[in-house]
């Protein structure tokens, strides 16, 4: 099976999951030929891919064109990580004045084909599978690769983080420690890391389908003003997720 790994606006953290596979990477590489992966190899071929893993959000005009080319060359396109699925941390800018923001960081004039918005892949092309997380976990990556070998659909959670949190026998940080936790509206998959380390989830796996945001804002009123929770969501790397952008 021919695999391509591509990168758009991102921190490289999701691609790292391939390296994190370590020994398994070598075993799996007997079944998957990595044809294109700039970070891993100096020999890259762009032909047809059975699976394209795409990291990063679309934030320049150039990227808009490149993602379409990747889609055309790939049978199965997997968006990996919060950037590709929801626009990433850089999509926090979608809620700000872009010109001003640009000036805060660069003195040079606006340009370079940088788009005002940072957007998920699904805004531009059909995505076959979205893998959540900032970054994705190597377990999710392994599940996807193995599922291809087994010829099955990958088993990635759609349930909220709280379920995973309880499976890990954590104490709820909202109730016990009065911390704001986005777990109830965030998709599981990380292993409920933040609550396991004594803090509330900041939503890096992105919203569940149809999150009851209103109920969360209302219910957390005693902990934090609604506007601040919304800000937290805007900074949670998934601010431009289609399941949540309209509510922010």
């Amino acid at each position: 099976m021919k695999v391509g790994v591509f990168k758009f606006s991102s921190c490289d953290g999701c691609q790292l999951a391939f390296f994190e596979l370590e020994r398994e990477l070598l075993e799996l590489s007997e079944r998957f030929q990595i044809e294109y992966f700039l970070e891993a190899s100096s020999e890259n071929r762009w032909e047809r891919f059975d699976i394209a893993f795409v990291e990063g959000s679309i934030s320049t005009h150039d990227e808009e064109e490149r993602i379409v080319r990747i889609r055309e060359s790939s049978k199965y396109l997997v968006a990996i990580g919060a950037c590709a699925v929801s626009g990433g941390i850089q999509s926090a800018r979608n809620y700000e004045n872009f010109e001003e923001l640009f000036r805060r960081v660069y003195e040079k004039p606006l340009g370079y084909g940088i788009s005002r918005l940072s957007r998920p892949l699904s805004d531009f092309v059909k995505v076959d599978l979205e893998v959540r997380g900032c970054p994705i976990s190597k377990d999710a990556l392994r599940e996807i690769l193995l599922s291809h070998l087994y010829n099955k659909s990958p088993n990635l959670p759609s349930y909220p983080l709280c379920l995973e949190c309880k499976r890990k026998l954590n104490t709820c940080v909202v109730v016990a420690h009065r911390q704001v936790c986005l777990g109830p509206i965030t998709v599981a998959g990380c292993g409920a890391l933040c609550p396991s380390y004594g803090r509330g989830c900041y939503g890096c796996y992105g919203p569940v389908e149809k999150p009851n945001l209103e109920a969360l804002l209302e219910g957390y009123k005693g902990l934090m003003p609604s506007e601040n929770i919304k800000e937290l969501l805007r900074l949670g790397f998934n601010a431009y997720n289609p399941n949540i952008r309209v509510m922010l």
Partner: protein, 367 residues
């Protein structure tokens, strides 16, 4: 629930030293799980010495709120935050390992280990919860579950009568407490003079054989009654459970459920902390040539719980809430001859947005 013999000879009074000694005997005979303070809450955890116990704490619980305070005395709290479901129906339990060898499959069924386990300090609600789970997995099940049973058969339980109820407790409403009425091997009640120790099984009798103790007198038993009465008085009767059950069947219309659907996050917490919620998923954990079939906690609030042809039959949150509440307070009785709720109040405390199931039952029933 079977009430094991409570004849006169089974009531003793012991002092603190004997209690410590009892704990010592237990830890020698069994692996002991007992309430300890961790992360600011009281939890059942493996415990090796008396000093680790969460004695002299008080849990203040409200809908969506938990706090621990220091308190004069010993068994001054209610039940721990985690339930015994954790032990008998673990969050993730591998049922088998399957290895593929050419076209044949080899199955390796791994039963959980049958180590003797002592649960120290179990309250009435949680002992009832064990009975409820027993009915689900073995007693009222035509195909009893050997995984559950192999864990269950190895339990030795030391019950404790509650001398305090927190605001989320409603065992009186559900008829499960606060008095421990059975299902224990040993039972403790903290009295002014010491601890009333009652024996509920032969094994219990054997355990306390070497213990320094004296016969309890009538006034001790009377004090116990008083304590239980006092504890009962700390709880309000929330609703008449049988009446509620009957009326709930007439309250299936969504209009009754929509208000709580608006407030509920469908986060699954209530089902996970509940000592009796048993729903699970079967998960295939695959490797290159082997696969584990794992039984993992699931919840009727999960977005894919009732999926038929890729479509969840319960799309709306209010319909999931209805499924849950109806199951606990109505269906369960048809299924297993007991309520699915023991009134421990965990779902109330641990709901991140503080939905109170008692209030919902009342609202819906009275509507």
């Amino acid at each position: 629930m079977e009430v094991k013999g409570e004849d006169e000879g089974s009531n003793y009074l012991i002092d603190l030293d004997s209690l410590v000694e009892l704990f010592g005997i237990l830890s020698q005979r069994y692996r002991v799980w007992a309430p300890k303070v961790k992360d600011g809450v009281i939890r059942y955890m493996p415990t090796s010495s008396f000093g680790e116990l969460a004695l002299g704490y008080r849990n203040i619980e409200l809908p969506g709120y938990y706090e621990l305070k220091k308190e004069e005395g010993y068994f001054t709290y209610t039940h721990p935050v985690n339930s015994l479901k954790e032990l008998l129906h673990p969050p993730e339990l591998p049922l088998m390992r399957v290895v593929k060898q050419s076209s044949e499959l080899l199955f390796d069924y791994t039963m959980p280990n049958g180590e003797r386990l002592c649960l120290f300090d179990v309250r009435a609600c949680d002992l009832w919860a064990l009975e409820v789970l027993d009915r689900v997995f073995i007693k009222n099940n035509p195909k009893p579950d050997p995984y559950y049973k192999s864990l269950r058969d190895n339990l030795f339980t030391v019950g404790v009568n509650c001398s305090y109820a927190t605001s989320t407790c409603f065992c009186t409403t559900m008829g499960t407490g606060p008095e421990v009425r059975g299902g224990y091997d040993l039972l403790l009640t903290e009295l002014k003079e010491g601890f009333l120790l009652q024996v509920g099984s032969e094994e219990g009798r054997e355990v306390i054989g070497p213990l320094k103790k004296r016969r309890a007198e009538e006034r001790h038993l009377q004090e116990k009654e008083n304590i239980i009465k006092r504890t009962e008085g700390m709880m309000q009767k929330d609703f008449h459970r049988q009446e509620a059950r009957e009326r709930l069947y007439g309250r299936m219309d969504e209009t009754y459920w929509e208000p709580v659907g608006k407030r509920c996050l469908a986060c699954t917490n209530c089902t996970q902390v509940c000592p009796t919620c048993f729903c699970f998923d079967m998960v295939e954990k695959n490797g290159l040539s082997e696969s584990y079939r794992v039984r993992a906690w699931d919840s009727c609030f999960s977005p894919s719980f009732a999926t038929l042809h890729r479509f969840n039959l319960r799309q709306s949150i209010h319909s999931r809430y209805r499924q849950w509440l109806m199951h606990k307070f109505a269906y369960w009785v048809d299924q297993f001859g007991t309520y699915g709720c023991v009134g421990c109040g965990r779902c109330i405390t641990w709901c991140p947005v503080g939905i109170d199931v008692r209030q919902e039952v009342r609202r819906i029933v009275q509507a």
